[in-house]
Symmetry: C2
């Protein structure tokens, strides 16, 4: 699925292995251990991945190679690395990049704290880059920190949404068949042109499939295939499964993949990827307030309205109390959206507490975190000049925390005595909060919106 149900497709932090943290992943890891017998403890080097990233992305129509194009200010390849390194049974990830992009790649790994990555020089073609990656994994390499895996996954730098489930499927199938790859139904009919540019024949769509990534191979099979294969194959070949078939007589098992395995190829694919990522990190909102005791607390009223107004969004609430212990957990669980209710004072006391907690965490490393600082005011009681002070303050805060990838907005919700009017202004506030979270518009940070 492209944009899963709430939570299911929530992106993962790099570094700490997530397997077992969530249902799906847990099943996956468990079955890998049983089916494929690669209990991490016993066969630490069982599975590695090779990621060719030497392409120049000419189809994108932009100067930057597409794997380095930014999505929410982070290069596409970083999302793909994140998707691979969250799978703890993948021990090594070898990325093949061109010499000129080697430094860029190193800085990406450092900035986004990617783990278990090794870099090799890309070849002039995709196959040559993959071959270089395999050589780095082969034991016959001198001074290689890497050791030969039982199974190697080959994936694309520009397929950022690969899930642990499909990686497990191809690895398991590769152990049984020697080779395996993800496939998808064809969207368009495939035809063959004759020399004069006319239709020669068209293929029956139902009998063919698009070969996608990831693919997996017994290392010895694919390494042998690359050592045997001709220069023509290395220059013009596009299909690793074909090499295994041609040079090792290994018939790859084909595994149905999900739609989100698609390859970011054109500019429109970058747009699509950005929308998918925005949607995935907008599936949970945490309403933060100074206390959890008082059920009549206006924060809880707002929480209720958010729940009723925003379908498909998980709305929780947390108190800043207890040294924010529960809040720490929410941050660890990667909630990227916070609505901070300031009531005790008219300034940003609660918001500032939350901001310092976020700044101490590494939550903002991978995705921009939205913080909406909510203030309730009965316009009859508080002089508008008060608002101007708030406004000026929040603009400074916003500039400051933007440096740390936090998008801060202010929201004034009018608090009339009339209950019905209050409900209406809360509803209005919920709509504004939803808009801010959906768009993550950095041009509007520091603005004080009014509901």
């Amino acid at each position: 699925m492209e944009a899963g149900p709430p939570g299911s497709a929530r992106p993962a932090e790099p570094g700490p292995c997530l397997s077992g943290q969530r249902g799906a992943d847990h099943t996956a890891s468990a079955s890998l251990q049983s089916v494929a017998g690669t209990e991490p403890g016993r066969h630490p080097q069982a599975v590695a991945a090779v990621l060719p990233a030497g392409g120049c992305g000419e189809r994108m129509g932009v100067p930057t190679p597409k794997q380095f194009c930014p999505i929410l200010e982070r290069p596409l390849i970083s999302y793909t690395l994140q998707a691979l390194e969250r799978v703890c049974w993948i021990k090594d990830i070898v990325v093949a990049v061109t010499g000129e992009n080697m430094e860029v790649m190193k800085s990406i790994i450092q900035k986004y704290q990617h783990k278990r990555i090794s870099l090799v020089e890309a070849g002039v073609t995709r196959h040559r880059s993959i071959f270089n990656g395999l050589k780095a994994l082969a034991e016959d390499q001198i001074n290689s920190k890497l050791s030969k895996p039982e199974v190697v996954i080959i994936h694309d730098a520009v397929r950022p949404f690969v899930e642990e489930g499909v990686l497990l499927k191809v690895v398991t199938a590769a152990k049984e068949h020697g080779a395996a790859g993800a496939i998808r139904p064809l969207v368009s009919t495939v035809i063959s042109p004759s020399a004069d540019g006319c239709l020669d024949y068209s293929l029956e769509r139902a009998r063919h499939r698009a070969s996608e990534m990831p693919q997996a191979f017994l290392f010895d099979v694919i390494y042998e295939a690359y050592q045997q294969c001709s220069d023509y194959d290395l220059e013009f070949g596009t299909e690793c499964l074909q090499l295994a078939l041609k040079y090792c007589c290994t018939k790859a098992k084909l595994v149905e993949g999900s739609t989100d395995l698609w390859k970011v190829t054109y500019k429109r694919d970058l747009y699509a990827a950005e929308s998918i990522i925005k949607e995935r990190i907008s599936q949970e909102i945490c309403v933060v307030m100074d206390t959890e005791e008082d059920n009549k607390h206006v924060g809880h009223l707002l929480e209720e309205v958010l729940k009723s107004e925003l379908n498909h969004v998980k709305v929780t609430s947390e108190a800043l109390g207890h040294a924010g212990r529960h809040l720490q957990q929410i941050i660890l669980d990667q909630c990227y959206n916070f609505v901070c209710v300031n009531v005790t004072t008219s300034d940003f006391q609660e918001t500032q507490k939350l901001l310092s907690m976020l700044e101490e965490s590494n939550l903002c490393i991978l995705y921009p975190v939205v913080v909406v600082s909510v203030h309730f005011l009965d316009f009859k009681l508080v002089p508008p000049s008060q608002k101007m002070e708030n406004l000026m303050q929040i603009r400074e805060f916003a500039k400051e925390v933007k440096e740390r990838n936090i998008l801060l907005y202010g929201l004034l919700i009018s608090y009339p005595q009339d209950d019905q009017k209050l409900q209406e202004s809360l509803r209005q506030g919920a709509i504004i909060i939803a808009s801010l979270i959906k768009e993550r518009n950095s041009g509007l940070i520091g603005q004080l919106l009014i509901a």
Copy 2:
């Protein structure tokens, strides 16, 4: 190109034919007349189009058939109809929809003022729907308002970005070869699975192409093919070019298409389409002010900053004077973004003038129009309470004009005596204006933003 250079890909109003209004279109029409001899006057029925729209869009993973999925609140198929009807040498557009969607389709045609559209009942398969469309065009139909065209274009309801250039190419090629279709390079390698779900063989990517739309045929050729073809073809076939080849021995000419011919198939494609459309209607901003004489006018200062801050965006300025005659032209030329500078008074006098002009035009029928009502205030001189009044006012205006598809935002730009500070607040204002235009966020209408 997916999102063309400023202007080049600007969407067209339906109804009035645009050919000749812009360079590209003019060339196109001219060469159609010379190359293909279909001077509209002489052969009014030379070219028609059939649009199968009976699909249920199961791949989209949403209940609504994808051709009816909304983009900026307008159904996808309306964008495709708009792309076809802007081409004045396409005389009739026959759309095949299922009985249950017939009324939906009629209301779409009415609401978005589509012209030259005829509806027929879709068949249970794509081929049967196309056949029904062709039958409606064939002269042997009783009570048909339509007459048989020389050439028929077959396109998809879910390929909204088709340009006149490629339509001309396939029509011209069809006149010469009897059939023609757009093709694209393959993105993935195509493979054939064996019965046991393993790789049987893979096709050499370079020797195959994806068959896309539009396609064009001499009407007699494709109609003959459909009349001859087997039930199996009608049930399971996917390729019209193949029918022409199989039943009329007509070898279709293959025409390289641009990337934006792609088919909206998955949810991610809807995201991509929305981003492309937003980008296309954000390529021009008109700064509206009460006078054009005064070059020192703060509106002109803002215009200059907008020009320097926003690359790839055409920034013009117009005066509301002369009964706004020039402004009328800008509206006719489909500028979807207005920055209205209010200086003479602190209320919304100029903005209201602009809003009524927009409401009288039909500019807002197809796309949401952004209006940013800009107010300059020296915070030292004007009491903040003044702002609150403005704010309350603009919220009401915004609600009102939203009904007519106008997104109204307020922007207060501080006007300090210090020139450098003024430049900075103008720059800040330009960033906010750019954000509002890029996102077209209806959740934030009526807000008063501060720069």
